[in-house]
Symmetry: D2
Subunit: 344 residues, 4 copies
């Protein structure tokens, strides 16, 4: 079976493995305070054009989300997210386990708007019993979203402006940040993220690394004592250098951008093929996740050879699926799929 069901089916980019092998017998101090981590941090800060941000390396996304949110909020506060947001649906209650409510806003395509955020804030504070309700204090979004859709600079800036105006923190989950930045419709740079967000992270797990997310904290309040929070939430890797080495490689000679572009280029070819075939797209994605709505006969036929993620039945005879590419997707596998789609 050729697997397109998600973007973490393979190991790591070969350059990462090479570097892990090369450095394997070095002796370093633990917990992210070694020279590899320092080097990776410097590369990321340079991209962020920031001299005051902090960079921390965590193992995974759920961990990063729960750690950042718990570090940022006081007990009576909650985090605003789309109803479809990863923290709202797919983290087994990791945020609630830290004591906080996820305040959900309706979303058709995974995105929320500045107006919705403002509305949520106003609704809270205009209610005379607001101190009987969870106080919204942070906005969480992912870019790209769970549905492959993308916030552009204007949209993200508008949300950031509302956040600043209302005293809300802005946190962007970038588990697939590379694939967003490689999108043909992207206009956001790493420096934009650093300028607009209080916290965001650069996904490694789905973009070339064995595992790891690089958390960038620009808000001084959030930076304070953040290592305690990482430790408390189980995210402080003893051999922290493993994370440093991986991000150091990913941000050397533009590797992160290159491998992201590979994935998106292949995804765009699939997108065009699906549209040409007359299949609607469940979400209008220009990133590495595509959501074609397949006639069930086509779905059945393709499933003999390819693995997709079932998304939902859209009507009696059609099914939306998720088809992912990644840094590791082989050109030849995409070619095969393109041929098989065309031949249906």
């Amino acid at each position: 079976m050729i697997q397109f069901q998600c973007d973490y089916t393979e190991g790591a980019h070969p350059k990462i493995l090479e570097r892990l092998v090369e450095t394997n017998s070095e002796q370093t101090v633990g917990y992210g305070e070694d020279a590899h981590c320092e080097s990776a941090r410097a590369r990321i800060l340079q991209l962020c054009q920031s001299s005051t941000a902090q960079v921390h390396f965590l193992v995974g996304g759920t961990q990063a989300n729960a750690t950042i949110i718990a570090a940022a909020l006081r007990p009576h506060q909650g985090v605003i997210a789309a109803t479809t947001g990863h923290i709202a649906v797919h983290e087994s209650g990791a945020v609630e386990a830290t004591g906080h409510k996820v305040i959900t806003l309706p979303s058709d395509d995974g995105k929320i708007t500045a107006e919705q955020v403002r509305g949520c804030y106003d609704a809270h504070w205009s209610d005379s019993t607001h101190d009987h309700m969870v106080q919204p204090a942070m906005v969480y979004l992912s870019n790209p979203t769970e549905n492959g859709t993308l916030y552009n600079k204007k949209e993200l800036s508008a949300i950031a402006a509302v956040c600043r105006d209302c005293g809300l923190l802005l946190f962007v989950d970038g588990a697939r940040l590379g694939y967003g930045m490689a999108s043909p419709i992207n206009d956001l740079t790493m420096a934009d993220y650093a300028a607009l967000c209080d916290a965001f992270y650069i996904g490694g797990t789905k973009v070339g690394a064995l595992f790891g997310e690089a958390v960038v904290l620009t808000n001084a309040q959030l930076q304070r004592d953040f290592r305690y929070h990482i430790k408390q939430r189980g995210g402080m890797l003893a051999k922290g250098r493993l994370l440093g080495i991986q991000f150091d490689v990913l941000f050397t000679d533009g590797l992160y951008a290159q491998i992201s572009e590979h994935a998106v280029r292949l995804a765009m070819r699939l997108r065009e093929a699906f549209l040409k075939k007359g299949w609607a797209l469940r979400y209008d994605s220009y990133t590495n996740q595509q959501f074609p709505i397949l006639p069930d006969s086509a779905y059945e036929k393709l499933s003999e050879k390819y693995l997709f993620s079932f998304w939902e039945k859209t009507d009696a005879t059609h099914t939306a699926v998720r088809v992912c590419t990644s840094w590791a997707t082989k050109e030849e596998n995409v070619e095969a799929l393109l041929r098989d789609v065309e031949a249906l």
Copy 2:
């Protein structure tokens, strides 16, 4: 500098890296449900001589401790540990962050006794206001302990018997389990751990792996829904196979035992040299961590070339330090240290 300050200064055993490279481009499903994880689980279950235990792979020790304890306890219950226990001191309140008190028992050498556990239990239930106090419900210990000391089979069996009698769960943190099992004074097998404990884990991070702890759950109640807890606490690795591959290698052809023995053999040579030198040992350890009490002049001299962990000042002119060996410790580095100690 030659580093003896901890047992996680290097990467992974070369065979693990080899296998990661070999399998890198395989496509597998995520979250620990791939064939590598299955194979590793089967090997561990065989060593445990159990057909009903569950094996789960988690990234690190703090995470494993918090996840197991939170999954096991109801809100009003606490976990008994030595005052020096890792969960009581060095996890930034990870257990408390899940809502539970660590009930500490005094300990000189890192170990607690069956009598202490029984005493704690009896003290709780004989107090007429016991429902105003945290109810002891689990015993946590690590073997070897933080101080390098070791429970033998008789001691662990006695604790297990008290636990069964009192309805307490028994959980053993085995972050250094390999080094305990390779000790000349050890008489516990993996099957003994499985028979005596409700939960324990086999440390990989400190014993040959890049990272990872293999959690063995023998208690059916604890097994139920355990994957939800792993996910909620941020421990479910997307590329779960990375853990499966590592433990699969470690438990092929006795590698785990071999590399543990290497570390302990070198530690025993150091132990003898320290004693021969007339240096007392802060704890009577027969495992990979040694705690010699050095004259400050010797400490200063050796620190020019070697890195130890400062432990504590024992008097005005002496300092206890921690000297660790590991699977990766080079024979030549130990030889050098032995010569330099002798020459002092």
Copy 3:
């Protein structure tokens, strides 16, 4: 101003105050283990026709909800409620603060159905990634609801049957239980509640007491160690007898039913007057809370003399308000309001 905005504007039924004065200088043991509490428990158990249920007295509703839910759920589990449910909206995140998600089901009138519960359960377990999601484990509803609507025996039995079938616990918040049981459309007895629910409580705060909710636990698992949970959540009153005395009075000679009937009879007179006036009702309530939709001119006029709760603007010129009666509502105040409505 005559206050109709809520059902807790006055103190307690005079018989309760009388009894508090009478017993004031008695010396009793604390924490709910005195003879007054025992007597009140016996009266409630008799009404419940149960010999195995436990009765505990807590100070308030939010406390009762959080304590029961936290005692019942394991960390990865959540509680199902209507989007409008008190725990979902008006408790400042008390449930999330204990680590649990409130899983909300849409509701027009405050009620949820057995079909919705079944659907939620099925959706969870049929999802292949269910262990990445919060597991539904309990159903919370209030009767009457926040909107004054009422579940009848058939509806509650259907929900209870789904719960039993799916292994979900059923918990009924009865902050206004008396007003529900006094409704002309009610067909549920206290014994029915005890037979159908794993836990429910009989509201005192809104029905004649100074404060207090009598929690009835029928599920043996939930009963175990429940006093620890009360203590931990701050609900164990030192002078526990204050709660026992109040419920003892309320359940002597049918006082609870009598005073509830008084409130509902007056509410029904208001309901008829609103309808007669041509005002629609926002919710079709046959309990002590009425939700007429007033022309804004009428709202303004009546607000000179009466206090209502603003509920929502229903269109540009109309406003829905909440008008409450209670055990303490004076006949003459209702007469005055009826006259003033008629005269508009």
Copy 4:
């Protein structure tokens, strides 16, 4: 039986009941925003000589402790207390349930010292792995302590100075504050407490009220959004006026001081009698709790007529007990006990 086992065996001071009866049919808004609460707040602020402090009324002590501590700390922080502190022992893990560790300092008599606090702070920050440990952020003490002992102004000022110097918050549990202030060795005023502490509370439950603790917050950071925390922790009484009325009465015409003095005067008579009898005191208390060490024969004999709290066996033939007086203790009961002690 005449009960001396605790200081909450009776109801409330008659003037409180009178006032509750008088105001019973008044209609007021809920949740502590009525005129009675306002009046009580004004009286307390006047005693505190503060125009910027906030006063909030909570139902009980465990609730007050957990609410204040949870509102004040970030997740990685803990609260320092004596090993014997109420939060460390007798609250069923209420503080841990909010996610925080209670960092205990040894104490012989219930008190901790400024030096101990400084030492704890220094030990944390001088440890190179401090971010692996719970960060001390608040000092909790009660005055009087659980053992009846009392901090004087010099001692409390020294602790406050260390706290300010180290950035630690100072919180005083005043469940028995009245009995402390009425002690012959007391030199602290309410204004001193307000000047020295970030938060403290004035106990009502044990000092004349049916229930209730008046929390005084002087720290602006802690004041912010505090009502949300009260609501979230289940402490916001619907009929909030019940608390306002009680404290309004207690702080009218010096009632709180008068009734406290009554209790302490009687306790001092008992103290003298015990000493005269040759019985040692387990703790040197000048407040309403006395801890005589009784020959077991005397204990047995007195137990036929009087109820004391068993404290501990001090040797094979002696038992320390707690004997409490309160605002409600009858002169004649103390006379009887004095006679019976003398006659032994």
